[in-house]
């Protein structure tokens, strides 16, 4: 049996936002304009073998008249639920009170009630009419206080709602993190005994899916890093002068292809977290036109000093292997030399991006090659942008319709907070990547940054 919840309330109190957040669907029409939801919109959320349905309904428009109709058609308490059914099926009522007929239809068909109010505004006695109508349906119900602007009136609302609803929860669909979303779903499970197992299954599946999303995003990033750091463009030509002429074209094609690869991975990441309509400003930054300007890489990657330090750590780790191999007889010159060499080349090579090479072919002619990018900071830049987007998506809710704005990354700070071993592993892996060497456990190395 699929649990069904009708999300009802006054117009413009965030019903659609609650549905969008809980269903992880960013395509639901949400606006500050009242009356956006005119017809019931039913969303069945399936995760693995489990599912539940949320029905987004229009807001109450004429509750006073509707309650009067119901009172006129129900003599005593046992007739009230039937009166609501009669109301929904009555032709005249369908004409005169289309919004109430819409919102009450799923409820008379067995849906539980999620009544939504705004906790940032004062309680009003006029809401009692709506709550009374809902009480007449006899269906299990729960109230959600949505603090749209602030929580100033949550307490009086709670006091009032408790008189009509057994369960009252505060839930902000714009700000609720994953745990809060799960807590609300868990509280739904208590509304009806028949639905408990099913909803607990939904919660477990959601949590499982969150872990899978994290793993998949790591794999996406590992793939992107390997791909971008090893990407090379080559073209065969007959003469050296042709090769020289080709340089600007090759450069443009190369950088465009790199940008496209990154954009594709970012789109895949958004899609992974169920954002199919999200516009993000990450592509519209002024420096985006010049992704390969190393001056700008400080925002996303590491600055020159941090980069030299990272390379020193990686170089020292590699050199230390030699020391271990020689049982320390090298007096740790391996670690020292490796560190100095890598750190020095990182410092002096910070401006170096991608080589343009013209190679003579044994059978005559030439091959021109653009890339791969040898700059040590490049993998950090890719990482910084990807981590930023991931964190922004994790913080965001599907109810939000604003453009995802970019902020300055804090990758260096995040890396600094890692334990020494994880930091060393990351720097060593990136050192390998910048030398186009494969790193098979890249996802494991990156994982600490995603926790």
């Amino acid at each position: 049996m699929t649990p069904v919840f009708a999300v009802v309330g006054h117009p413009n109190k965030g019903k659609s936002s609650i549905v969008a957040t809980l269903a992880q669907d960013d395509s639901i029409a949400i606006s500050s304009q009242s009356g956006t939801t005119r017809i019931n919109e039913s969303l069945t959320v399936s995760i693995g073998d489990t599912q539940y349905t949320l029905v987004d309904t229009p807001g109450f428009q004429r509750p006073t008249a509707v309650l009067a109709w119901l009172q006129a058609n129900a003599g005593s308490a046992e007739q009230r639920a039937d009166a609501v059914k009669s109301f929904v099926n009555d032709g005249h009522c369908q004409q005169a009170y289309p919004d109430e007929v819409q919102l009450l239809t799923p409820i008379v068909n067995g849906a539980a009630i999620l009544y939504v109010v705004d906790g940032s505004r004062p309680y009003g006695a006029e809401y009692e009419t709506e709550m009374e109508i809902l009480r007449w349906t006899g269906q299990p119900s729960m109230a959600l206080i949505n603090p749209i602007e602030n929580e100033a009136y949550v307490e009086p609302w709670t006091q009032a709602l408790r008189q009509y609803f057994k369960v009252v929860k505060v839930f902000n669909p714009m700000a609720a993190d994953f745990d809060k979303q799960m807590a609300v779903l868990e509280s739904f499970a208590h509304l009806k005994d028949d639905w408990t197992a099913s909803l607990q299954g939904v919660v477990a599946a959601c949590k499982q899916q969150r872990i899978a999303q994290q793993q998949a995003s790591l794999e996406l990033l590992a793939g992107l890093l390997s791909d971008l750091c090893s990407y090379q463009l080559s073209q065969k030509v007959l003469t050296k002068s042709q090769a020289e002429l080709l340089r600007p074209v090759m450069e443009q094609r190369y950088f465009q292809a790199m940008k496209d690869k990154e954009a594709k991975a970012h789109a895949a990441l958004k899609s992974l977290y169920q954002y199919h309509h999200l516009e993000s400003g990450i592509y519209d930054l002024p420096f985006e036109d010049n992704l390969f300007d190393t001056e700008q890489w400080i925002i996303w990657g590491l600055n020159r000093k941090q980069l030299a330090l990272a390379a020193t750590i990686a170089g020292a780790a590699a050199g230390a292997l030699i020391d271990v191999g020689l049982a320390g007889q090298s007096l740790f010159l391996g670690a020292l030399g490796g560190g100095l060499l890598a750190g020095g080349s990182a410092w002096f090579g910070a401006e170096h991006i991608a080589d343009y090479k013209i190679m003579g072919l044994p059978m005559g002619g030439y091959e021109v090659r653009q890339g791969p990018i040898g700059n040590r900071n490049f993998p950090y830049v890719v990482l910084g942008r990807f981590v930023f987007l991931t964190q922004a998506l994790l913080r965001r809710n599907h109810a939000r319709r604003d453009v995802l704005k970019i902020e300055e990354g804090d990758l260096a700070e995040q890396i600094d907070q890692l334990p020494a071993g994880q930091k060393r592993a990351l720097h060593s892996a990136f050192e390998r990547l910048s030398h186009q060497k494969p790193v098979t456990n890249l996802d494991q190395v990156l994982q600490p940054l995603f926790i």
Partner: protein, 367 residues
């Protein structure tokens, strides 16, 4: 959730590496079993090739598997620079790292198995096509020292007596290059059964088991990866609303025609009524929500909660009132009246715009 195509590395790589390993095993064994000019093969070296090196390789594989970080033989082989670029991309680039690791482990086992098969084929070919004399030489060891180790190694094939090493056979096979050559050639050849059993038991059999396990593990991880795809949230929907196009806005005015009647639709508290008197003078009369004002020529001012969206029942009510009246949306809290947000004002102007001759009233100076 997407499953990159590269989670399924090409069949070409294991096939080609397998063939190359088969050839390598075949050629190496062929070269080794050629022996010296008299066709003598050092039994101890043969044991190294058929038993100890494969066992060490197996242990290394298991260690890498436990560490979960190694890329194995296939990883190292594929990291070599001379393979086609697309091989490198298939083996190391996008996709699930867990699946890729399982795949590399599987290819490593395949390479090891094919090496063993190649070696076995060469061994069989040599046994078939030429006479091989198995001897052993050692400065330090005697037949008595070796016998227990070889008998221990031969325990797994106790059921095959002809392939068991004996002290007598060991003594007969000991060779001294400067000593007298008294070997019975047919006796020296008897070691082939032992060598074959050792090759099968310590190389092909465990490597075959590892290959099956690695393949199953790879398939399982791939299926798990696909399950993750299947576990994605799927939202099926019926009905779809769209954000409506904004309608006409009612005029926004700051004064109203005097005298006027006030309807307190909002059930607003006293400070709000004082605010109205302050900005727009006192009304002729004030009516509570739902009550109809007297039918006079004086316009009606309907006070509403500015933050609440306008509802149908208010519209029904306003339509009963005379034209040329006003809607006054106010916002307040415990401190008193406050400025109405532009968003709410627009909402009320859109709503009032549906009524002919109605205006939205706001004080000139915000609250």
């Amino acid at each position: 959730m997407t499953t990159p195509e590269t989670q399924r590395p090409t069949l070409q790589i294991p096939l080609m590496l397998g063939v190359l390993a088969l050839l390598a095993g075949f050629m190496a064994t062929l070269a080794f079993l050629g022996g010296d000019e008299q066709g003598r093969v050092n039994l101890l070296y043969l044991l190294l090739l058929f038993v100890f090196i494969p066992l060490a390789g197996l242990l290394l594989s298991l260690l890498l598997l436990l560490l979960k970080s190694g890329q194995g033989l296939a990883g190292w082989l594929l990291a070599l620079p001379f393979w086609p670029r697309h091989w490198h991309q298939s083996a190391f680039q996008p996709g699930s790292q867990a699946v890729r690791r399982a795949w590399l482990f599987y290819v490593s086992q395949l390479v090891g198995f094919c090496l063993g098969v190649g070696s076995l084929l060469a061994f069989m070919l040599i046994l078939l096509g030429t006479d091989v004399s198995f001897v052993w030489r050692s400065t330090l060891l005697q037949a008595q020292d070796l016998a227990p180790t070889l008998q221990l190694l031969a325990l797994p094939w106790r059921f095959w007596p002809e392939a068991q090493p004996s002290l007598a056979l060991l003594q007969l096979s000991q060779d001294f290059r400067l000593g007298e050559q008294v070997h019975d050639a047919s006796v020296l050849g008897q070691w082939w059964r032992f060598a074959l059993a050792a090759q099968c038991t310590f190389n092909l059999l465990p490597r075959g088991v590892m290959l099956v396990v690695a393949h199953l593990s790879y398939r399982y991880k791939r299926q798990q990866s696909l399950k993750v795809t299947a576990a994605a949230v799927v939202v099926s929907r019926s009905g779809h609303n769209q954000v409506p196009k904004p309608g006409l806005l009612a005029p926004l005015v700051h004064t109203l025609k005097q005298p006027y009647q006030l309807v307190n639709w909002a059930q607003a508290p006293e400070p709000c009524l004082e605010y109205i008197t302050l900005h727009f003078d006192a009304p002729l009369a004030t009516y509570p929500r739902g009550n109809a004002p007297q039918a006079t020529t004086a316009p009606t001012l309907v006070l509403v909660k500015g933050w609440e969206p306008p509802m149908g029942e208010l519209m029904d009510y306003l339509q009963t009132l005379s034209r040329g009246s006003y809607v006054l949306p106010l916002d307040w809290d415990q401190q008193g009246v406050k400025a109405l947000s532009a968003l709410h004002l627009d909402e009320w102007r859109r709503f009032t715009g549906l009524l002919d001759g109605w205006s939205v009233l706001q004080a000139e100076k915000p609250a």
